[in-house]
């Protein structure tokens, strides 16, 4: 079987009055059926733009370029707008961060759910309704029949996010892109939504791109992880390896920020990464992390740093050798 989603060398540029903002640079990843790829990184590192670029619904003034974007073997770059919108919602669907604003307040839940199906399939109102009820029950909403007649403002945030999930599943997509779907929810609801997502994913065999900045969620839901920094993927690998032996100094820094149960003592300071994220406007070269990195060398300023592939799934973007990186991680741990 072909890879579900394959992205090679994706770039997104936004022209601002201050200059060209290189929001996403040289991002490559692939997603297989039934697995979850987590895009991790701090705010503004280009996670969401990457997702929007895959869906081709970038905001105006931003330009997408890529060597390759294929969904189920189909090239998405040379697709006509009309064909692209046929794919959106039917083969790939998106769940947004803010459940309070991602449903249109003017229409009932049922109306919005059915619209998705009726847009893509010649389904009758009846079939669309049945599918909507079925999915609402699947995502754990009781009394689905009456919920269909309600407006978004009558639902709580958690319920709305469930409706959004149901909406994204209406046409049975092969790929789901979830852009921080739990950030706006409280922790208990967050846990419910996460387990709901992963069980649905297993049931329907979908691939999922899960965007988050919460490493706790990553550990729980991810199959593979891509850590992003300043528009670039700095490290990618299977979730266990990333957490157990992070290679890139940024990933190591991120993990040092987390408290470890049983090891971090009360009152002890958690790690932090000094400095601020630079804004990638205009021309620049070298490693973007160098001014915050404790292992920065002179070469970091000049060379453009390639993704160094360790194994099939593992790669990192640093000049240091794998052994040095691992050694750094060991000393940091102790």
């Amino acid at each position: 079987m072909t890879t579900l989603l394959n992205i090679r060398a994706l770039y997104v540029n936004i022209s601002l009055s201050a200059g060209m903002l290189h929001a996403v640079r040289d991002v490559s990843f692939h997603v297989e059926r039934g697995e979850t790829l987590c895009l991790v990184g701090e705010s503004g590192c280009g996670k969401s733009l990457t997702a929007l670029a895959v869906m081709d619904i970038l905001p105006s003034r931003s330009v997408r370029w890529a060597e390759q974007i294929t969904l189920e073997g189909q090239d998405l770059q040379n697709l006509k707008d009309r064909h692209m919108s046929d794919l959106r919602g039917s083969r790939m669907a998106m769940i947004f961060q803010e459940p309070m604003t991602s449903l249109n307040p003017c229409y009932t839940i049922g109306n919005q759910l059915e619209e998705t199906l009726r847009r893509h399939r010649s389904a009758s109102r009846r079939e669309a309704r049945d599918r909507a009820v079925f999915l609402l029950e699947k995502v754990g909403i009781t009394a689905a029949g009456t919920r269909l007649k309600q407006y978004p403002h009558q639902l709580s945030g958690g319920l709305r996010q469930r409706v959004m999930i149901a909406m994204s599943l209406m046409c049975g997509p092969a790929l789901i892109i979830a852009d921080e779907p739990t950030t706006a929810l409280d922790v208990t609801i967050q846990a419910q939504i996460l387990s709901l997502l992963s069980s649905l994913q297993k049931e329907f065999g979908m691939g999922m791109i899960f965007i988050t900045h919460d490493l706790g969620i990553v550990a729980r839901i991810a199959t593979r992880v891509a850590v992003m920094y300043c528009g670039m993927v700095v490290e990618t690998g299977v979730v266990g390896e990333i957490f157990h032996s992070p290679l890139h100094p940024y990933t190591q820094g991120l993990l040092a920020c987390l408290p470890v149960p049983g090891k971090t003592r009360p009152g002890e300071h958690l790690g932090s990464i000094p400095g601020m994220v630079p804004t990638p406007i205009g021309d620049f070269s070298g490693c973007m992390f160098r001014n915050r990195c404790s292992h920065a060398m002179e070469e970091c300023c000049h060379e453009s740093i390639e993704l160094y592939r360790v194994s099939v799934e593992r790669a990192y973007r640093c000049l240091l050798s794998k052994e040095t990186c691992l050694a750094n991680h060991m000393t940091q741990k102790d």
Partner: protein
């Protein structure tokens, strides 16, 4: 033993709407006034006691019923050509409402499409529309209308089109601002993400959400158009005699103002009542339909 929990019954959206409508005083007052005026206008051929064009020089300048010498034969008196004032007033309401409604529709279509396009697409489109709005705002409406009407002659049709083409600016400004807010909403993105075309996003996602603003502007613009028509007619460049327009009635009466002030007072009052009614209703509709006040 546990009591059975009583089921909570939510009122249906329609019930909520009706309740909110009936508790909004301004809306009710405006709606009733507008209803009365519209009924008088629509049923003018049936209700009016006389033919509004029928002159009778032997019965000129009869006082209305509340004056001495007034009689119920002509409840609001007659004008200087002996035409029944009440009948002319009722037929005049037709002109005002027709003109206000049509001019609003024309300007609404122009302004809304420009405004939504500018707000949604931004960039160059926004710049062009911004220029058009500024150009339009720099033209004094009455002056331009007077000039155009003087050039191509005045008839009801011409006035409707001239006003319609001149007063779309408020539509465009308001629609542009509201669309800019909505454009950033996730549900617009979500609509794109389920494969809606741009036109579909504009028509079925943006338009319903700006609709309550649209209605408020529309009612204001009806009132605006009616007032402009009255002003133009007063200046002799609007509806031409013998058509019974309220502005024209004021103009025709201004010579007799000193001794019979009611010839101006009556059409003037009705005009301001109509404008007040429309504005009250517009505000009311906004309050009733605003999504933040539902539930």
């Amino acid at each position: 033993m546990s009591q059975p929990i009583p089921e909570i019954v939510y009122p249906s959206p329609r019930q909520i709407m009706i309740r909110r409508t009936l508790t909004h005083k301004g809306f009710l007052i405006g709606a009733i006034m507008l209803l009365l005026i519209s009924a008088a206008a629509l049923l003018a051929p049936v209700l009016s006691p006389y033919d509004p064009y029928n002159q009778d020089l032997s019965r000129r300048m009869i006082n209305p019923v509340w004056h001495e010498n007034g009689s119920w034969e002509h409840p609001l008196g007659t004008d200087n050509l002996g035409r029944d004032y009440l009948s002319r007033l009722m037929y005049g309401a037709r002109i005002s409402l027709l003109l206000g409604g049509c001019a609003m529709l024309i300007s609404g279509v122009i302004g809304t499409s420009l405004g939504i396009a500018a707000g949604y697409f931004g960039g160059r489109v926004d710049m062009v529309v911004g220029f058009l709005i500024t150009a339009r705002l720099s033209m004094p409406v009455v002056l331009v209308a007077l000039a155009v009407v003087a050039l191509i002659g005045s008839s009801l049709n011409v006035i409707i089109w001239v006003l319609g083409l001149l007063i779309w600016d408020r539509f465009a400004v308001v629609m542009r601002a509201s669309t800019q807010q909505l454009r950033e909403m996730d549900y617009v993105n979500a609509a794109k993400a389920i494969g809606c075309s741009t036109l579909r996003v504009l028509v079925s996602e943006i338009l319903p959400n700006v609709f309550n603003n649209l209605i408020v502007v529309a009612t204001l613009e009806i009132a605006h158009a009616i007032l402009l028509e009255a002003a133009l007619s007063f200046l002799g460049m609007g509806v031409q005699p013998p058509l019974p327009s309220w502005g024209l009635m004021v103009a025709e009466g201004k010579e007799f103002m000193l001794f019979s002030p009611w010839v101006i007072f009556i059409p003037g009052t009705v005009l301001s009542l109509l404008v007040l009614a429309i504005n009250l209703m517009g505000d009311g509709i906004r309050d009733i339909t605003a999504p933040e006040g539902r539930s």
